[in-house]
């Protein structure tokens, strides 16, 4: 019986678990591939056992995988490859064409020679969980944006309300002062400049009253402030 046949028999119970599992020799040869992985990847055990993992899935040749798998082959602690950092460690398409999102744990399994270790990969499909959490996060994010917008609208309406009254008084008084003032009067240009600024302030309050979106822009020292132009309709 060949090594692969012996291992297929020894680990045959793993064909009945709903988790993708495969066994890797320390030279990166795949020596066992369970039925769940056959179903997920569409690759039969007979077609992949005996092949090099790095040839079949080249990302495993990266240092970030090799250094951690090396520890497992040395009999060290398990290695975890999380879904958020690794996505689909063994690309396996779903009926909708998207890839299964996977969380993988790799443990050392002593070989029969008593010297070496195999690396046993357990690949969990966490697609449903990831999608649900992503949907919850997006809903929460939308809710936060909505709450922020409501806060901004309430604040800007209050600011406009409080500003409009003194603005109207200042505007009215400057109109009265300018009523009979000759253009060569020393205060004339100051008063007209003041009125221009009052008009600008009036435009800003109008924009504040028309805020419908929450948009920010960079300010000083890494801070962000509301972008009034982009936020108002």
């Amino acid at each position: 019986m060949s090594e692969f046949e012996e291992l297929a028999l020894k680990f045959s119970i793993l064909n009945h678990v709903p988790i993708g599992m495969f066994l890797l020799r320390n030279d990166y040869t795949i020596v066992f591939w369970n039925r769940c992985l056959e179903d997920w990847t569409g690759t039969d055990a007979k077609d992949i056992v005996g092949k090099n993992l790095g040839d079949e899935y080249p990302h495993f040749n990266q240092l970030s995988y090799q250094s951690r798998l090396g520890i497992v082959f040395d009999g060290g602690p398990p290695a975890i490859f999380s879904s958020q950092l690794h996505g689909s460690i063994l690309p396996a398409p779903l009926p909708d064409g998207k890839l299964r999102i996977q969380h993988t744990t790799v443990i050392a399994v002593p070989a029969d020679d008593g010297k070496n270790n195999y690396a046993l990969f357990s690949v969990e499909d966490v697609t449903d969980l990831s999608r649900k959490i992503t949907a919850i996060r997006e809903a929460e994010k939308a809710n936060i944006e909505k709450e922020k917008l409501a806060g901004v609208i309430e604040m800007s309406a209050a600011v406009c309300h409080e500003l409009n009254q003194p603005l109207m008084v200042i505007s009215g008084l400057s109109d009265i002062l300018l009523w009979d003032m000759e253009e060569d009067h020393p205060l004339y240009k100051h008063l007209t400049a003041m009125q221009e600024q009052l008009d600008k302030t009036g435009l800003i309050t109008k924009k504040l009253m028309n805020i419908t979106r929450y948009e920010t822009r960079e300010y000083t020292a890494g801070r962000k402030i509301i972008d009034i132009d982009k936020s108002s309709s």
Binding site: A79, I80, F81, S82, Q84, I107, S130
Partner: protein, 200 residues
């Protein structure tokens, strides 16, 4: 019976754990877009009864922890503990998420479990390699728990020696503190310290 390590033993242990978290950082840096630096500013032996106060001193009552048990030359467990808020910030910074919506969920928990796995593997690898120990390990698990429950009175743990190594994660503009905790049976700490003596 309490065992108090000498200053030299503590220095050597701190160095050993610094080497371990340094290895963890170099692995993390091969995986992440953000550069991360890990340091252990101090290490202490404390009692289980003081552990909760020490851990919660710099953070909230809710804690995110990754635990990995080991057995071999001696038995115990290693844990990496953060306040939930720090854990969420760390995960967000590592995966390039906006630091909003900071709840820990199963997905972020899985990411933290991987980070903890890498750091704890570095520490345990450093101890086992330098001191020629053989350990077998359990699969690390992630737990989010209230400090009162996590450090509830436990006769077995009260009798254990606890090594607490404060670990500083510097990533981008963030500086996040976590704690690496090693629980040992008292006899195990003696074995560890005796082995340290052979190195000195």
């Amino acid at each position: 019976m309490n065992i108090t390590p000498s200053e030299r033993q503590l220095d050597a242990l701190t160095e050993l754990i610094n080497i371990g978290v340094g290895r963890g950082a170099s692995v993390l840096n091969t995986m992440l877009e953000s550069h991360i630096v890990l340091q252990v500013p101090f290490l202490r032996v404390i009692s289980y009864n003081d552990l909760k106060d020490e851990i919660t001193r710099h953070g909230g009552e809710w804690l995110a922890t990754v635990e990995m048990s080991f057995r071999g030359n001696f038995t115990g467990s290693s844990q990496l503990i953060f306040s939930t808020e720090s854990a969420s910030k760390l995960v967000a910074a590592m995966v390039g998420e906006e630091p909003i919506n900071m709840d820990m969920d199963e997905i972020r928990g899985g990411t933290l479990c991987e980070v903890g796995n890498i750091v704890l593997n570095g520490v345990m690898g450093s101890i086992s390699n330098m001191l020629k120990f053989d350990f077998s390990y359990s699969v690390p698990n992630f737990l989010e728990e209230n400090a009162d429950n996590l450090f509830a009175p436990d006769q077995k743990k009260t009798e254990m020696s606890i090594l607490l190594a404060r670990t500083s994660f510097q990533i981008e503009r963030l500086n996040i503190d976590g704690d690496v905790i090693l629980f040992f049976e008292v006899a195990s700490l003696k074995i560890l310290l005796d082995s340290i003596d052979t190195l000195l």
